[in-house]
């Protein structure tokens, strides 16, 4: 796949209106660099920024972690299992 696959869950999927999208990237970037693009594309998602966590390839990640084409990024609202 060309670009970064974005998965959205729970309230984040609701607010974005989609469960999956792709962000084209040309080179390796910081996870945090993706956020303005996502927030611009989904303004209602942007409102919950401070409640979101992120995973890269299935593991919790920080905004400074690097991602590149082919990676899977998950947008995770506060978990509420149990």
């Amino acid at each position: 796949m060309n670009g970064i696959k974005i998965l959205l869950f729970g309230a984040a999927a609701d607010r974005a209106g989609t469960r999956e999208t792709v962000l084209p990237v040309e080179e390796e970037v910081a996870l945090g660099d993706l956020w303005p693009v996502l927030a611009g594309r989904y303004p209602k998602l942007a409102e919950m920024q401070h409640n979101l966590a992120f995973a890269v390839n299935g593991e919790y990640a920080r905004m400074e972690d690097r991602v590149s084409s082919g990676d899977e990024v998950a947008v995770l609202p506060p978990v509420s299992g149990g």
Binding site: G10, P78, S80
Partner: protein, 146 residues
């Protein structure tokens, strides 16, 4: 045994599987769908979704954390996805240990950790709309203060 399932959880058979001659205690925790009411509306059922396989791995991680901290010989955690009706189990935790203190502490720890790190989300489906628990997002016009 760590599993995420779409069917009802058979807690009885998890308990039977945890009975071991080297253990004197089995502590079990079961989370069930509780029906809240507010503003004349009521929760009709819960609906769970997960980010898999990350959620499966996180359940296993919790198991590893527990066996590091306590003398526990058997741990099962089973979480259900999809629609869960009132009173039905959404999660079952079964811990067998030689002694009861560690069994109780480990099963309590397991449910607290599930609520912290496992990427599973529930929404309450009310008679007047739904609400994602923990996110204040949904279609109810009069969201209940949680």
């Amino acid at each position: 045994m760590f599993a995420i399932v779409e069917e009802p959880i058979d807690v009885g058979s998890l308990i039977v599987a945890a009975q071991r001659p080297d253990c004197g205690a089995i502590s079990t925790f079961i989370g069930t769908t509780r029906i809240d009411e507010s503003d004349g509306a009521r929760v009709e059922h819960l609906e769970y979704e997960a980010y898999r396989p990350m959620a499966d791995r996180k359940l296993e991680e919790i198991g590893a954390e527990i066996t590091e901290r306590w003398d526990v010989r058997e741990i099962s955690i089973v979480h259900r996805l999809g629609r869960v009706n009132p009173g039905e189990p959404s999660v079952a935790i079964v811990v067998a240990a030689p002694r009861r203190g560690p069994a109780f502490e480990a099963s309590r720890y397991a449910i607290e950790r599930i609520k912290q790190i496992v990427p599973i989300w529930k929404r309450e489906v009310w008679s007047d709309g739904y609400m994602w628990v923990g996110s204040q997002t949904g279609t109810r016009s009069t969201p209940a203060a949680k």
